[in-house]
Structure formats: structure tokens, C-alpha cells
């Protein structure tokens, strides 16, 4: 970049900004197309980001309430269960453990099924197994660690099965990983598309000003002097497009949360908008994309 930094800052701001804004005003249609493309790309990428953040919240809220239910085999003596309970309690990451006998389990079930008690009254035997409920310490509440603990517990010959929402979680994380990969790929494609479109717009703007640039050079303008406004235009297009994309997403978000059954959703988790810092990062990234598009275009044009 070089020499234009040698121009006084106030002059640079005023002169280059004025030239950039004039260029943007002179080529409204071209700039509008670029602006809309950037806004749409930012909208799509930030929608992915919004989904990922809220999906992360779902996992987090699941992790907060997770417990491992250990189903004991039939006919295991209470002494053996007590030994197993002690063994589990000493495992790293176990916060608490509680024994629920098959009788207690049935009582609990009856409470939960009030109104349909006739279903249970006809049972000849109690079909429920004895269980141990294991609460995991907060710092161990990650999917990997819980899974490790569950596998370890399940290896005991007294245990019939363990349950910690693994099937649901496996499906959900599988879907989430697929979404992450898709989002990443789409992000990369849109990133390249925006760079290409900005580079192309700058090229057209440059050609439309080629006579003026030629004259500027003849009277002693450096490359930096002639190209600085284009970089400002790239930053403005990226920035404004980024802000528009985030604003559209915000409007869509407001529409969504005012039109869905909040009682249902908030029972599990709260849908949150992108944190300010993420929104800012997306806008800055959009500006950076504008700058890169400009750089690629001008580097090529100045060679000729």
C-alpha cells in the first residue's frame, strides 16, 4: 500500500472519503447489486451462526440437567447394589447418587400418571427394575465425559442398562455436525462469491474512471492515491452489506419469537439472537471481504 500514508490523515479522510462516496453515488445500480449480494450472503452465513449458537444452547441446557439412570438386573441383592453404589460414588465426576427401589419407582410412576392409574392397577408384578440415579458434577458435564462414565458403569455385571439420553443426543449431535460442515462449506462458497463480486464491481468502477486515473497519474498521483478511494468503497460496501444482512436476520428473529409458542420453547431453552460481539465480528469480516475483493482486483489492474 505504501505512500498514501504519507499524506496527512485529515486530508486523506476528507478527500478519499469524498471521492469514494461520489463514486458510490455515481454508480448506484452497480453498487446496489453488489450491496444486495453481500447482504444476502451475510444473512445466510449469520443464519447458520444463529442456529449453531442456539443449538449449542440446547446441548448446554441438556447437559445441565443430565443424569445417568442405571438399571440394575433382576434379583440382585441389596448389599451388592450398595457396593455398586459406593463404587460409582467414588468415580471421578460423580456429584451425587441415589438408589430408587423398584417399589419407589412404581410410586413415582403412579404420581406421574395420575388420571390413568387403572393402567397400573392391573399389573400383577412390578415391572420396574431397581435403579441408581447418578448426578454428574458440573465440570464433567460434557457429552464425551458423560458417555465415558456411562460406559464404565455399564461394564458392571450387576447393570442391565444405562440411560442418559444418548440416542436422542447422538442424533442431535450428528445433525449438528452435518449442519456445521454444510454451514462451513456454504460460508466458504459465499465468502468467495462476495470477493468475486466485489472484485468485479471494483474492476468496473476502475474502468469507468480509467481516463480520470490516467490523468491523475500524469500529474504525479501515486498508485496509492488513485486506489485509496476504491479500498474505502470496498470497506463501505462490505460494512453496509454486513449491517443490512444482520438487520434482516434480526427482523426475521423478532418475527419468529413473536409468532411461535414461547411457552413450549422456553420450557427447554430460550432462542437468543447473535451476541453483539458475534454480530460485530460478522460485519467486520464482511468489511474485510470487501477489502480483499478490492485488493485482488486492483493488484491485477495496476499490473497492466
Amino acid at each position: 500500500m505504501g505512500m498514501y500514508w504519507s499524506y496527512p490523515i485529515n486530508m486523506m479522510n476528507r478527500l478519499f472519503l469524498k471521492r469514494a462516496v461520489d463514486d458510490l453515488k455515481d454508480n448506484v445500480l452497480l453498487n446496489m447489486i453488489t450491496f444486495i449480494t453481500i447482504a444476502m450472503s451475510v444473512l445466510i452465513i449469520s443464519t447458520f451462526a444463529l442456529f449453531m449458537i442456539n443449538a449449542g444452547n440446547v446441548i448446554h441446557s441438556w447437559e445441565k440437567g443430565v443424569r445417568i439412570i442405571v438399571y440394575i438386573k433382576n434379583n440382585v441383592q441389596l448389599v451388592e447394589i450398595d457396593n455398586l453404589k459406593n463404587d460409582i460414588q467414588q468415580m471421578e465426576g460423580v456429584a451425587d447418587i441415589k438408589f430408587v427401589s423398584k417399589q419407589d419407582g412404581l410410586e413415582r410412576l403412579k404420581k406421574q400418571m395420575q388420571g390413568q392409574l387403572s393402567l397400573l392397577e392391573n399389573l400383577a408384578d412390578n415391572p420396574l427394575p431397581d435403579t441408581l440415579e447418578v448426578w454428574v458434577a458440573p465440570k464433567y458435564k460434557t457429552w464425551k465425559q458423560i458417555e465415558m462414565m456411562a460406559i464404565h458403569i455399564e461394564s458392571s455385571h450387576l447393570v442391565e442398562d444405562v440411560e442418559y439420553g444418548q440416542n436422542w443426543m447422538k442424533r442431535f449431535t450428528g445433525f449438528l455436525n452435518l449442519f456445521k460442515v454444510t454451514g462451513g462449506l456454504m460460508g466458504a462458497v459465499f465468502f468467495l462469491a462476495v470477493i468475486f463480486i466485489i472484485a468485479n464491481t471494483i474492476r468496473l468502477l476502475f474502468y469507468s474512471k480509467s481516463d480520470e486515473i490516467k490523468i491523475m497519474r500524469l500529474v504525479g498521483a501515486t498508485d496509492s492515491f488513485t486506489t485509496a478511494p476504491f479500498y474505502i468503497e470496498g470497506l463501505i460496501m462490505g460494512g453496509v452489506g454486513g449491517i443490512a444482512g444482520i438487520l434482516i436476520l434480526y427482523l426475521a428473529y423478532v418475527l419468529l419469537i413473536t409468532n411461535i409458542d414461547l411457552n413450549f420453547v422456553s420450557f427447554y431453552f430460550t432462542i437468543k439472537f447473535l451476541p453483539f460481539i458475534i454480530s460485530l465480528a460478522i460485519i467486520l469480516f464482511s468489511m474485510l471481504t470487501g477489502w480483499i475483493g478490492c485488493y485482488i482486483s486492483l493488484k491485477q489492474l495496476l499490473k497492466n
Partner: protein, 227 residues
């Protein structure tokens, strides 16, 4: 008479466009504050020689030194600084049609890093007064006559207080009165110590300047070196 140091030195310069040689083995020294005419018929290479001096065209062979800068080895990013030594009066004016007269001239000062608007206004008004165009400051070049555009070009050329004025057929398309105004301006600049180099085949213009030197070209060769 005191000998003045050369401000431009041209050594065995050739310019070729493909297989066509436009300038052949040109060597000449131009002293500071010289008034030099580069003359010759159309196609003699006058404009090309002027262009080589500010690297408007690249040098095919040989060397040119301008105020101590070697043009042959000059890096691209230094060309802008070379051009600031010149005030160039182009045959086809080279004014920006979308900028008014004031902004066309102010551009030179902005390019050179002049930051104060008040200084720019003062300088532009001063050079417009010098060429008698102060009332047309807000006009756009396409609305001006050829003579007026040429005066704006001269105002732009002198705005940066250059050491050297290069003028390519400055009176070529002008009526007598306008041509005389421009000749007087060039004389004034010369009297203030500026080196003036004019490419022309206008015999009246050549004869109007006393003590001017003449470099005569024909088909890209030097016919007669300046005395």
C-alpha cells in the same frame, strides 16, 4: 555567460514500437532555465521525446537523467515523483471532464499532499488569475473553448511550481490572441527560472522567443543540436 547545469540529460536514446523505430540515438543536454524548442515535421518524434522525459512512454534503449533521477532504472512507484517535477501542457488538454476547472487544478496540489483547503483555494485562484480564467473556475471543461481549455491546462501545469514545463503544441489549435496569451505566459515562467521545453512546428511561436534553443528532429533523428 555563466554556464547553467543540465537539468535533463539524454544519452543515446532509442524508442521503438515493435519493429518501428521512432527515435534513433538521441543525445542532448538541457540546461536549467533553458527555453528549448523541439521542432520538426509531423511524425518526427517530438511528442514521443517529450513523453520519454516523464516516462509517459518507456525508454527502449539509452538513458535519460532528469534532475538527478535516472529514468532507465526507475521503479514504478517513483514515476509519480518524477512527474511532479514537470508541469505538462498536453496537446489534447487531458482535463477531467467531470471535474470543474477549480477541481482539475486543485487535483495537482492534492496529489502533492497539500492538506490545507485554504492553501489550495489560494493557489488555484492565483494560477487561474495568471491565465485569466478566474471567472471560469466553476465551469466544466467541455463547456470551454479550445483556447480556454489550453489556459486551464497551463494553470494546472504551473500550480505545482514545477522546475520544468513540457508543452506539446501549446498553440496548435488556438486563435492568434489566445496563442499570444499563452506565449506570454510561457515567457513569464521562463523569466522566473523555469525550464521550458516546447514541441512544436509553429514557426511563429519559435521566432517569438529570443535566445531560445532549438532541437530539430526528422524521422526520429537529430538534424541539428541546440546551440
Amino acid at each position: 555567460m555563466e554556464e547553467r547545469p543540465p537539468i535533463i540529460r539524454i544519452f543515446h536514446v532509442y524508442k521503438r514500437f515493435g519493429s518501428h523505430t521512432v527515435l534513433t540515438d538521441i543525445s542532448v543536454d538541457i540546461a536549467a532555465n533553458d527555453f528549448l524548442f523541439v521542432t520538426g515535421p509531423s511524425g518526427a518524434g517530438k511528442t514521443t521525446l517529450l513523453k520519454l522525459m516523464y516516462l509517459g512512454e518507456s525508454i527502449s534503449e539509452g538513458q535519460i537523467l532528469v534532475d538527478g533521477m535516472n529514468l532507465t532504472r526507475m521503479k514504478r512507484d517513483r514515476i509519480a515523483f518524477l512527474r511532479r517535477k514537470f508541469g505538462i501542457i498536453f496537446q489534447d488538454y487531458n482535463l477531467i471532464p467531470t471535474k470543474n476547472v477549480f477541481d482539475n487544478i486543485a487535483l495537482v496540489l492534492e496529489v502533492m499532499g497539500q492538506s490545507k483547503r485554504s492553501q489550495i483555494v489560494k493557489k488555484v485562484n492565483s494560477v487561474l488569475r495568471a491565465v485569466g480564467m478566474e471567472k471560469q473556475a466553476d465551469a466544466f471543461p467541455p463547456s470551454l473553448s479550445g483556447g480556454e481549455q489550453q489556459k486551464v491546462t497551463i494553470a494546472r501545469a504551473i500550480a505545482g511550481d514545477p522546475k520544468i514545463i513540457l508543452a506539446d503544441e501549446p498553440t496548435g489549435s488556438l486563435d492568434e490572441d489566445s496563442a499570444e496569451d499563452i506565449i506570454n505566459l510561457l515567457k513569464l515562467l521562463h523569466s522566473r527560472g523555469v525550464t521550458v521545453i516546447i514541441a512544436t512546428h509553429d514557426k511563429e511561436l519559435i521566432s517569438s522567443i529570443k535566445n531560445a534553443r532549438e532541437l530539430r528532429l526528422s524521422h526520429g533523428h537529430v538534424l541539428e543540436l541546440p546551440h
